[in-house]
């Protein structure tokens, strides 16, 4: 049985570039599920001041992130000195539907990643 991934949700609260309908629906679904998860107000804000929590997140094993474009999220972690581990899944709330994202976030640890989710290692 593979290790369960840590789920991370980014609220993009400092600029609202993520459609609010999508981010609200994703958060609602995560809250409705019985699972534990991490949320941050804004990954960009954290990367701006090299928040050490990014490092802790990047080191917590497997990660599934609901945020925005995988290239941007990967770059933000890298720039903050916290490169994402290989196999990190980044789901894009700017381009995917809330349904798609929650389905992928909440799927069992051993279920394969359906397209178009992108693993950070490939981004």
């Amino acid at each position: 049985m593979p290790e369960a991934p840590v789920l991370l949700y980014c609220r993009c609260a400092y600029a609202q570039v993520v459609p609010s309908g999508v981010k609200n629906a994703v958060l609602a679904q995560l809250c409705e599920s019985g699972t534990s998860f991490e949320t941050v107000s804004d990954l960009c804000e954290m990367a701006a001041h090299r928040d050490p929590r990014l490092q802790q997140l990047a080191q917590c094993g497997r990660l599934r992130i609901a945020a925005c474009y995988p290239r941007a999220v990967t770059g933000l972690f890298h720039q903050a000195g916290a490169p994402l581990p290989e196999g990190t899944e980044i789901l894009n709330m700017r381009s995917q539907t809330a349904e798609d994202i929650t389905q992928q976030m909440l799927r069992p640890a051993d279920a394969p990643l359906p397209a178009p989710a992108v693993a950070a290692a490939e981004a």
Binding site: V17, C31, G34, E38, T39, A48, C68, P70, R71, G75
Partner: protein
């Protein structure tokens, strides 16, 4: 130099053993209110674990506890101070007020008061050519000990101005808070590479042909460069180019207004070019300047 060092307080919405689950609607509302205020929140349930990273030595644990009695908790390692609060029947505003109170006067950024706006480099595309370093007049870019391009001074970046993303020949510079792709991090298409003209136009902002100046970094080239490009002509070009970028809606008007004086721009451009040339020269395999 990073000036925004204030970190959000780490809050845990605890629904694990010893606590009761929050009503679903209340859980969502509290979570949303805290996130929109700038806090980082973990939700903890009995069925799964999470990372709960906490580095600032304070963790605030919120929950609905039997008899409304939040337990007193201590970190076994003694490193983190754990505060606990019962939030039974509290509305989201009251919960946020309680969290604010616990934070006290610890500084924290807040949404709406500042925008995280800075370039992010996609190192899978970047070729370390240093054109961004020589372009930026505000010292946003720097070079690592390994002579790799780096974003070093985020806070110097002009909010809402993505100009340097147009200078990068590899389309490797992103601004995640930008609306359109590929600058926002969206995939780079073949058409995104066809922007040579704009690149050349922008390079004139620096008062000269930075590309050839960087290619042959010789003293002779430098003196030819300064003879050929009178400061007045360079400034005229810069103004023309900037006006175009503003009218295209690419650069906000206030960026134009906040530019340094013409003399200062020329001075900064020279300094930036010299830093880029030095970094290029220090790269492995660089030809020594003749």
């Amino acid at each position: 130099m990073i000036t925004h060092t204030a970190r959000p307080l780490k809050v845990v919405l605890y629904e694990g053993n010893g606590a009761l689950p929050l009503p679903p609607e209340a859980r969502l509302k509290v979570m949303t209110a805290l996130l929109d205020k700038g806090y980082a929140v973990s939700r903890v349930t009995p069925t799964s674990v999470t990372a709960t990273p906490s580095d600032d030595h304070t963790l605030l644990l919120l929950g609905t506890f039997p008899q409304r009695q939040a337990p007193a908790l201590e970190d076994v390692t003694g490193r983190i101070q754990i505060e606990t609060r019962d939030i039974t029947d509290l509305d989201p505003e009251t919960v946020v007020a309680l969290v604010d109170k616990t934070r006290g006067d610890k500084p924290m950024n807040e949404p709406g008061k500042w925008k995280p706006w800075f370039p992010v480099i996609d190192y899978s595309r970047c070729t370390n050519c240093m054109q961004c370093l020589s372009f930026c007049l505000f010292d946003v870019y720097g070079v690592s000990e390994e002579n790799k391009i780096q974003v070093q001074n985020n806070d110097n970046c002009k909010t809402n101005c993505p100009a340097c993303s147009r200078v990068c020949p590899e389309v490797a510079i992103m601004f995640p808070k930008y609306q359109a792709g590929p600058i926002n991090g969206d995939d780079v298409s073949a058409a995104d590479h066809g922007r040579e003209k704009m690149k050349v136009d922008i390079s004139s902002l620096l008062g000269g042909d930075i590309y050839s100046a960087l290619k042959d970094r010789s003293a002779a080239a430098k003196s030819r460069f300064s003879k050929e490009r009178s400061p007045d002509k360079a400034l005229d070009e810069r103004k023309k180019c900037l006006t175009k970028l503003v009218s295209d809606g690419f650069i906000p008007m206030d960026v134009l207004a906040s530019l340094p004086s013409p003399d200062e721009i020329l001075r900064k451009a020279e300094v930036a070019k010299a830093r880029a040339a030095a970094a290029l020269a220090a790269q492995p395999g660089a030809q020594p300047a003749s």
